[in-house]
């Protein structure tokens, strides 16, 4: 291994069996097959999928690298292998130094324990010794701003306090290599800013950072280098803006409708995602001056309390233009997580400028992501009298409200 490399993978691959568990779900089945002397699924053969395939990647000491790619492209699998949570099927990965994996904030937090108890427990879970945690305890608490609630059980914390405390513990780790997955997906803007600040501190302290996020803008700001994974392989690796451009331009489902294969393991499934014009016709190019609709069709297999659905749009510069959740509006009551098939439609008013947009959709609850993809790209067309310069202007929304300009009849009055 080259002395400058902190992370090096050679031919790294990870194969999963589709469906839950292994070939046997129950001990009863396993024992029965032992008695019969054959494997129960040998006829069909279990369906295999390569989450990562022949991955050669080197990351140098002190580099900050962003990992992007669609859901199921292998980003999280790669992080999990680097963090030794799961084993590769083929190949080898070498990591120099201690890895701090932040795959979720608050891993190991327990609602019944107090803030203080949770800080020590979570510290231990993340690999801090008790003396390390004690030494940094005051910093952790101050960063989270929860001094007054240290002896309160975590279940009485507000969501914001919980997140701040959780992130604060993680932020005070001192690993050589930090791998971070989607921590920015939670919390309010202020919290996310705080996370980003801390992440860039990690970078400037010379730690090696591998960062996964759906927020392309955030990744680009933190990481000068980006790796785009597609179907478990590297599609592009290089300077961030170039990789983002290539990623956004790639034909990720340019079109008006995408259907999804059911994933038997999930209690809720996305069936299809559709973009239609104001009159309900599917279209991959829409006039910017008319409202359009985003329609999600999904089914709930078993009751999911607190089920939520959301959709967001990313413009060609990687900015999240909006992100609208179902549960943002009113409480939808008990009926929301009941089993059945649903169609959720969101009308987007005509306020977006012409350009390419990527549509992201999500199903989940406060604690779990059940589905998350960015399956569609579509275009908002300029009108025939939009000037070229106005189309290329840097902006996120376009109000289209006219200026009222009138001559002042008595200037200076």
């Amino acid at each position: 291994m080259n002395a400058r490399h902190t992370i090096e993978t050679r031919g790294l691959g990870k194969r999963y069996q589709l469906g839950e568990g292994g070939s046997y779900q129950t001990l009863r089945e396993m024992l029965a097959s032992l008695v019969r002397g054959r494997r129960p699924q040998s006829a069909r053969g279990p369906e295999m999928i390569w989450a990562l395939r022949d991955l050669d990647l080197t990351i140098d000491d002190g580099e900050a690298v962003g990992l992007i790619g669609r859901n199921g492209a292998g980003k999280t699998t790669l992080l999990k292998i680097l963090a030794r949570i799961t084993e590769p099927t083929t190949g080898v990965a070498r990591v120099r130094g201690r890895v701090g994996a932040l795959l979720e904030v608050g891993t190991g937090f327990h609602p019944e324990l107090t803030g203080r108890e949770n800080v020590f427990l979570n510290g231990a879970v993340l690999g801090m010794s008790r003396s390390d945690t004690r030494r940094r305890f005051d910093d952790i608490v101050a960063f989270a701003g929860v001094e007054r609630f240290l002896d309160t059980p975590l279940k009485r914390y507000s969501a914001g306090m919980y997140l701040r405390l959780a992130f604060s513990v993680a932020a005070h780790l001192e690993p050589d290599v930090v791998v971070v997955d989607e921590v920015l997906a939670v919390g309010d803007t202020e919290f996310q800013q705080k996370c980003l600040m801390k992440m860039s501190e990690f970078g400037s302290e010379g730690r090696t950072v591998v960062f996964v996020s759906h927020d392309l803008g955030a990744v680009a700001r933190l990481c000068p280098r980006m790796v785009w994974l597609d179907k478990g392989q590297i599609a592009a690796d290089g300077e961030s803006q170039a990789v983002v451009d290539a990623y956004l331009k790639s034909g990720i489902g340019a079109g008006a409708k995408v259907d999804f294969a059911p994933d038997g393991a999930k209690p809720a499934q996305m069936l299809s995602v559709l973009v239609t014009d104001a009159s309900g016709r599917p279209a991959s190019a829409l006039p910017r001056t008319e409202p359009f609709e985003i329609a999600l069709r999904f089914s709930v297999i078993e009751r999911i309390p607190g089920l939520d659905v959301s959709a967001y749009l990313i413009n060609s510069r990687g900015v999240h233009v909006f992100h609208e959740g179902w549960a943002d509006h009113a409480s939808l009551g008990e009926s929301i997580g009941a089993p059945g098939e649903y169609e959720a439609v969101l009308t987007v008013p005509a306020v977006l400028p012409a350009g390419e947009y990527t549509l992201g959709v999500w199903i989940g609850t406060e604690v779990e992501d059940l589905f998350w993809e960015e399956p569609l790209r579509f275009r908002l067309q300029p009108t025939s009298h939009d000037r070229e310069e106005a189309i290329r202007r840097s902006r996120v929304i376009q109000l289209s409200s006219p200026w009222r300009v009138s001559p002042r009849l008595h200037p200076g009055e």
Binding site: G22, L27, I85, R94, A101
Partner: protein
């Protein structure tokens, strides 16, 4: 442990590759390196138990007391079963507290990883730590119950022999049985969904297959050795000998102890072999 200046000491390179071969090693060294986390797991379980149950300490006392009282009345008084020359109350209570320790320990161990699923999916730690740590909190209950046993013995005028010096070894034997069975069941529970349902049933059967409330002296000659294939037999008889001055354990109990040791070794080997799949199947 902390390393803020990577330049000062060259950090170690960790190599991650698919594990091959039949047995990846016991991994005891790494287990030892993570001992603090194990302690935190045990501490958390204790904190939770004393926070969540209304009775707290009282509950850990009442449970075996109530069970012992019922058995002392039905089996000791009504059925008049033999009790190794001990007052039946002392015989039963000493058995019940060890049994309670083993049964709760193995159940907690069996559930440990599945209950900490989010940890298994998101953090690395030697997985063996969880079932082992789950057995430990029961030691506190055992100590409390042991104090009560002392009161019983004083009232019943039973004095322990000098064998009481071996009591720590007897407790260790019980820990080995609990951990052995717990580690096996924990590994199975992660992989197969029906294990948790079988658990209660298994514990019930095991209770009646062990000399908790019925002395093994009712079993004759050669059958004793068959009976002693149950590792609980040795643990219970060893405990009674050291704690309440029961008869010294004989050859069958020794065999039982060896079975217990074999159980825990086999459990660790099996666990280590299958744990590489845990994060993927849990």
């Amino acid at each position: 442990m902390s390393r803020s200046a990577p330049a000062a000491s060259e950090p170690a390179v960790i190599e991650i590759r698919p594990s091959t071969g039949f047995f990846p090693g016991l991994g005891l060294r790494e287990l030892w390196n993570y001992r603090e986390l194990g302690l935190f797991f045990a501490l958390r379980d204790l904190q939770l138990r004393y926070k969540q149950t209304f009775f707290g300490v009282a509950w850990t006392l009442l449970q075996p007391l109530a069970a012992a009282a019922v058995f002392a009345f039905t089996l000791g008084k009504l059925a008049d079963l033999p009790s190794d020359g001990l007052p039946y109350g002392v015989f039963v209570y000493s058995g019940v507290i060890v049994w309670t320790f083993v049964a709760t320990g193995l159940e907690a161990a069996a559930r440990s990883l599945v209950e900490d699923r989010s940890l298994v999916e998101r953090v690395y730690f030697p997985r063996l730590l969880a079932p082992i740590a789950a057995v430990l909190p029961g030691l506190l209950d055992l100590a409390i119950s042991f104090a009560v046993l002392g009161v019983f013995m004083a009232v019943a005028d039973v004095a322990p022999s000098e064998a009481i010096l071996l009591l720590p070894l007897a407790v260790l034997a019980a820990v080995i049985v609990a951990a052995g069975a717990g580690i096996w069941l924990c590994a199975l529970n992660v992989q197969y969904r029906d294990v948790r349902h079988a658990l209660t049933f298994l514990i019930q059967i095991w209770f009646f297959a062990s000399p908790v409330v019925i002395s093994s002296s009712i079993i004759d000659g050669g059958w004793r050795y068959i009976y002693a294939l149950n590792p609980m037999v040795g643990a219970l008889e060893f405990f009674r000998w050291t704690a309440v001055g029961g008869p010294p354990p004989g050859a069958p109990a020794l065999l039982s102890g060896l079975i217990g040791a074999a159980l825990v070794i086999a459990a660790v080997v099996y666990f280590r072999r299958v744990e590489r799949r845990f994060a993927d199947v849990i």
